[in-house]
């Protein structure tokens, strides 16, 4: 019965490595955090289960895994490795995003620009640690706090690091409620945190329809590399705000984004087999990623304080932290921290302005990095 021996040798138990076991535990932790702590469950559950699947040892000669040509997982992963899924997710995000508060208070947009400093300082850090410029750019974008953008840029600049970069980006996005508050408390005074802001003005439908078209033209002409992501984001938003294409917007923000999210999360997770993932590079990437989130948060807050030097109507600098993107979690964190000081202070709507501006900002940054670094 050598066939039986042969089969036994092919079971997962035989070829299981410590690395695989560790990754499976990490996958289960992701799922647990998502369910128990409610951290970004729509992403952590698919990614977590994907990590578990991707670390079952494979039988030699069978096309099963993400990296095996012709396997089912490789077809699904194609949407990740070619950068197809992220723009489709941006389409759905555009179709569910309300830019009204941003339109009603345009100066808050600058906070979404300032927070992108995390991207570039992390790039310098990555260069310092010996990564190539392309790799450094892909690692820096973790500081954009935007999963699809990170996957898109990594697929273009450093496909071999896509797994760790994507996992780092989504992990820290999920951990925003843990990472940001200490930095916010450190960099602001109690007086600053108590600042109330004026209710935003009413935005007309015309403004909301014109914005996605004009905003796209501005971004795409200044940074053509951001065209795909920004184009899809604003296309989705136009579908929503035009009101005459409701059914398309509805499908984009429901069935379509859900399908893509399932496939993207699962296959990104499944790409983290221990032999590809558990490298010293990954550890450095996770370290740099944490750093970039902190810098980005600080960048937004400090720029808000800088703007306050010139403004008559002061900005509550807490909302600068929402400039990192991580929509809508970082805006919620701002709101929570603000309410801890003064329960009557509703910062949520104000924080949405830098929050969505941060999405645009990191997409522009990704476009710049792609243009400058692509070979």
């Amino acid at each position: 019965m050598d066939m039986f021996a042969q089969f036994l040798a092919g079971t997962g138990f035989a070829s299981m490595t410590w690395g695989n076991a560790m990754m499976i535990v990490i996958g289960v932790v992701f799922i647990t955090l998502a369910i128990v702590k409610d951290y970004e469950p729509l992403l952590l559950v698919p990614i977590g289960f994907g990590v578990v699947v991707g670390n079952i040892p494979l039988v030699a000669g069978m096309a099963i895994g993400v990296y095996d040509e012709g396997s089912v997982l490789s077809y699904i992963y194609y949407g990740v490795s070619q950068g197809i899924f992220p723009p489709l997710i941006f389409l759905g995000i555009g179709a569910m995003t309300d830019f009204s508060t941003m339109l009603s208070n345009p100066k808050l947009i600058l906070l979404g620009a300032a927070a992108q400093v995390g991207i570039f300082l992390t790039l310098i850090g990555a260069l310092f640690l010996g990564f190539t410029p392309e790799e450094a750019g892909a690692i820096g974008i973790i500081g954009g706090a935007d999963g699809p953008t990170a996957i898109f840029l990594a697929s273009k600049l450093a496909p071999h690091l896509l797994g760790p970069i994507a996992i780092a980006a989504y992990s820290y996005m999920a951990l925003v409620p843990v990472i940001q508050p200490p930095i916010m408390m450190l960099l602001t005074t109690r007086e600053e945190r108590l600042i109330h802001m004026k209710a935003p003005r009413q935005v007309s439908r015309r403004e909301r329809v014109i914005f996605p078209i004009a905003g796209f033209l501005i971004c795409a002409l200044i940074a053509p590399g951001s065209m795909v992501l920004i184009g899809m984001l604003f296309f989705g938003n136009l579908l929503k705000e035009s009101l005459v294409t409701d059914r398309l917007a509805n499908t984009a923000r429901n069935a379509m984004i859900d399908i893509v999210t399932i496939l993207l999360g699962f296959s990104v997770g499944a790409s983290t087999s221990a032999d590809h993932f558990l490298t010293s590079q990954s550890m450095l990437i996770f370290g740099l990623g944490a750093l970039s989130f902190c810098i980005a948060t600080a960048g937004g807050i400090l720029f808000a304080k800088f703007m306050n030097l010139f403004l008559k109507e002061k900005i509550n600098p807490l909302i600068g932290a929402a400039g990192v993107s991580a929509v809508p979690d970082s805006a919620r964190v701002v709101h929570t921290v603000g309410q801890r000081e003064d329960p009557t202070n509703y910062l949520l709507m104000h924080a949405m302005a830098p929050n969505v501006a941060g999405v645009i900002g990191s997409a522009i940054a990704a476009g710049v990095l792609w243009t400058v670094l692509v070979k």
Binding site: L103, K107, L110, A113, G361, I364, A365
Partner: protein
């Protein structure tokens, strides 16, 4: 062997990329910010110009979106109450409703409706 050090940053033009990158990010968002800031004024200007020349104000938004508001208002109020009641009952669950545009496809809908009406009448 990978060397750690500032020379890497120099070789990778890290500073140049950072300065260019932040400049462009700020350019883009400042441009958007300025445009948005001026948009209401531009629209007012456009309205004034078109009202001057023609008899009616611009057609796009203030009309299309807000004129029928007086009659929609009561409906919205009722709709809100119904929505909130449903939300209370179903525990925060939110029904996704694909609202067909009134114009688009209304014929098809009415075709279906007519058919069902006439079908029923054969039994009534």
């Amino acid at each position: 062997m990978i060397h750690v050090g500032l020379q890497n940053v120099m070789n990778g033009r890290g500073l140049a990329i950072t300065i260019i990158g932040m400049t462009i990010v700020f350019s883009g968002l400042v441009a958007i910010s300025l445009f948005i800031g001026q948009l209401p004024n531009l629209l007012k200007l456009y309205d004034r110009l078109t009202t001057h020349k023609n008899r009616q104000p611009a057609p796009l938004a203030s009309e299309a979106g807000e004129e029928p508001a007086q009659e929609n208002e009561i409906m919205t109020a009722i709709g809100l109450v119904v929505h909130l009641e449903l939300e209370r009952l179903t525990g925060e669950s939110q029904k996704i409703t694909i609202s067909r545009r009134p114009g688009q496809g209304a014929i098809w809908a009415s075709a279906g409706k007519m058919r069902s009406l006439s079908q029923r009448s054969t039994h009534a």
